[in-house]
Point group: C2
Chain length 178, copies 2
């Protein structure tokens, strides 16, 4: 994971001190607004899962929705939103997870993923892995299998990958240091 | 706008009394999870804008992100998120708009759309049109032009289209009554 930065990294804007002092925010909007880069990002993600027979791409609200739906289309899979609590109108299951301060919760419709289905998880960024760990639990509880976990960006120095051990974790761009 | 329902309407789940008593919520997740329907929805949207030379697809957080990015890819355009306040890390402009109770605000990065660009706006659902009206103002303030406004679903009986008069408004599925 310590190779050179992917060419798409040049399209990411680094914003110091957002959302708070000392944090460098990796802003993907500068990549997304460029049509060629948008396409390259979806290509890079989709190529990794060629032949993986993905049936659903389940994506974390809200930035995970952006590339996730395009990825689902490319893989001929369905799209499933993993939403913040209270947003889904039908019967859903919930997982709570820890944030730096307090907890948050993620929900998925109980009928969004069928037992035995092959699910690819997606979010824009892997930090500590807490959110995505909750996502894997939701898929497990529905009796489906996680065939991969995909991110556009991985903040490798936060070691989120260790929290997702046992899964195939793929990211397009890795940052080795803050 | 009073023709038969689009075949994709059969994939929408109607949930009574969500988010509150008396409201029928039109749930698009049952459409999105079906790969063929997901593709048909993006096809239907993209076909309407063939030849429109769209350069950016600007999409309302968060459900507008889902089909919006896939639509941008299909049109060889860039993707621009219109986000709730405080989420965008770089310099942004803001529009406030009224909700049933109180107000909300939407932001776009100041450099997300260039002066003179051709912008397609997208959200999943047109209700009263208040949110999308704010979106048109953001594009106007950046000196760009709105070449169309697209929705998967239009609740025609709420007359949101009147609030967006002067724009080319397109929706795939229309509901004529609650």
């Amino acid at each position: 994971m310590s190779g050179p930065l992917h060419p798409l990294a040049a399209k990411i804007r680094s914003v110091p001190d957002f959302p708070k002092p000392g944090i460098i925010f990796r802003d993907i909007t500068t990549l997304l607004k460029d049509s060629a880069s948008l396409r390259s990002a979806v290509d890079a993600l989709a190529e990794h899962y060629t032949g993986a027979r993905v049936q659903k791409v389940a994506c974390v609200e809200s930035r995970g929705f952006i590339l996730g739906a395009a990825l689902a289309l490319r893989l001929n899979a369905g799209f499933v939103p993993l939403r913040k609590k209270g947003k889904l109108p039908a019967a859903a299951i919930r997982e709570e997870y820890s944030l730096e301060y307090g907890t948050d919760a993620m929900e998925v419709h109980s009928d969004a993923i069928a037992r035995g289905e092959r699910v690819l998880l997606h979010d824009d960024l892997l930090a500590t892995g807490g959110t995505m760990s909750a996502a894997t639990k939701l898929v497990d509880r529905l009796g489906a299998s996680v065939v991969g976990i995909s991110f556009l960006i991985e903040l490798s120095f936060l070691h989120g990958r260790e929290r997702l051990r046992g899964y195939d974790v793929f990211s397009v761009i890795q940052y080795e240091a803050e």
